[in-house]
């Protein structure tokens, strides 16, 4: 009577054994590529870059909470999502609070992102966001301080190269020290919470 059930259990067990012996996670294969890990743990620190309004250093923003993000405008998906979430957080702040916050969008694609393009791009999300760029060396220096990683990749897409990049938002306290790194897709209420906590620090 119970034969079919026993047979099913046997087949299932054999499948399970086969799976354990032969299954290889695909993640193992990517080890063959050059891994693009995060550069290093973020330390924070001062840097100088350029906006459409002229040069800007982090120390110019002393007394403000700074949200720092590294991305590029050709990115159709990740950067707009991060910017939209952070913008919504900025929109939640009252005017006195907003005056003490500065969001910076640093381009990791200086070849295509001109300062004017960055200005129009960031303003679309929130008028207070500043788009920054610089020489590849200046950008690399700033990115290194925050452990932001990026690498230009040819993918065969007709749209040209893409830039792989980490998508954290670094929250910098009013005293210029790194307060917190927020993961990509952190919901606006948590961004607001982090901004307010950072304000108390300085």
């Amino acid at each position: 009577m119970k034969k079919p059930l026993i047979a099913m259990i046997v087949i299932f067990t054999l499948l399970l054994v086969w799976a354990i012996v032969f299954w290889q996670p695909t993640a193992g294969k990517s080890g063959a590529h050059l891994p693009l890990g995060l550069a290093e743990a973020p330390k924070g620190g001062d840097f100088t870059l350029h906006s459409a309004n002229g040069p800007l250093s982090l120390h110019d923003l002393k007394g403000k909470v700074v949200l720092l993000y590294f991305g590029y405008t050709f990115c159709p998906d990740i950067c707009p999502t991060s910017l939209a979430f952070n913008s919504q957080a900025l929109a939640t702040l009252d005017k006195t609070e907003l005056d003490k916050v500065q969001m910076l969008f640093v381009s990791v694609d200086p070849e295509r992102d001109t300062l004017d393009k960055l200005k129009a791009y960031t303003a679309y999300f929130h008028p207070s966001i500043l788009g920054l760029s610089g020489t590849p060396e200046e950008i690399a220096k700033a990115a290194k301080l925050y452990g932001a990683s990026y690498a230009r990749q040819e993918t065969g897409s007709a749209g040209g190269y893409v830039v792989d990049h980490s998508a954290y938002t670094y929250v910098i306290a009013p005293d210029g020290s790194l307060f917190k790194s927020l993961d990509h897709g952190t919901p606006p209420p948590q961004v607001v919470e982090a901004i307010r906590a950072a304000m108390k620090k300085g």
Partner: protein, 168 residues
């Protein structure tokens, strides 16, 4: 007795599926539906953007989306995003598989239809025609409304809210 009955039922189900599958299998475009498609409005001056949707396969066999075209863009490609240890990587993909009786979710941060070289500025409310081609060559024409990212986020939050509400 119950065990035997149960086994017979399982066998009947399996046989039924095997027999029914070839009969039901029509062109992929007829079995696959594109639900809630939209195009994300590109920020000013930007000539690339993504289109997102949920592809549902009512068929008993797997299907593949192999190509997308649209008159609003110079080039349309199928792309995905992967998150490898915090690093976001965007890559073109050859096709997007839609499992039998399953779905493929094209959403921000993952699979998307990439519109490259927009020929015109897309405004919220515009409808973007997109033609989807499947592995058997069958095609499906859809219209995807343009949504501002803020609208998109609001809709997502409302959906989440409804979902949470349902749990109570």
């Amino acid at each position: 007795m119950t065990t035997k009955f149960h086994s017979i039922r399982i066998i009947a189900c399996v046989l039924g599926t095997l027999i029914a599958a070839p009969v039901l299998a029509g062109p992929a475009a007829e079995s696959v539906s594109a639900n809630d498609p939209y195009v994300r409005m590109a920020p000013p001056g930007m000539t690339v953007t993504g289109s997102f949707m949920v592809l549902k396969n009512a068929d008993n066999k797997d299907h593949k989306l192999v190509k997308a075209e649209s008159p609003v863009a110079k080039v349309v490609e199928l792309h995905t995003h992967t998150n490898e240890g915090g690093v976001m990587k965007m890559r073109p993909v050859k096709d997007i598989e839609i499992k039998a009786q399953g779905e493929a979710v094209l959403k921000p941060g993952g699979l998307h239809v990439m519109l490259i070289g927009l020929k015109q500025e897309l405004k919220e409310g515009n409808n973007v025609p997109i033609t989807l081609t499947f592995e058997d060559g069958s095609r499906k024409k859809i219209e995807a409304p343009v949504r501002q990212i803020q609208t998109e986020m609001k809709m997502n939050m409302e959906m989440k809210h409804d979902h949470e509400g349902m749990k109570h």
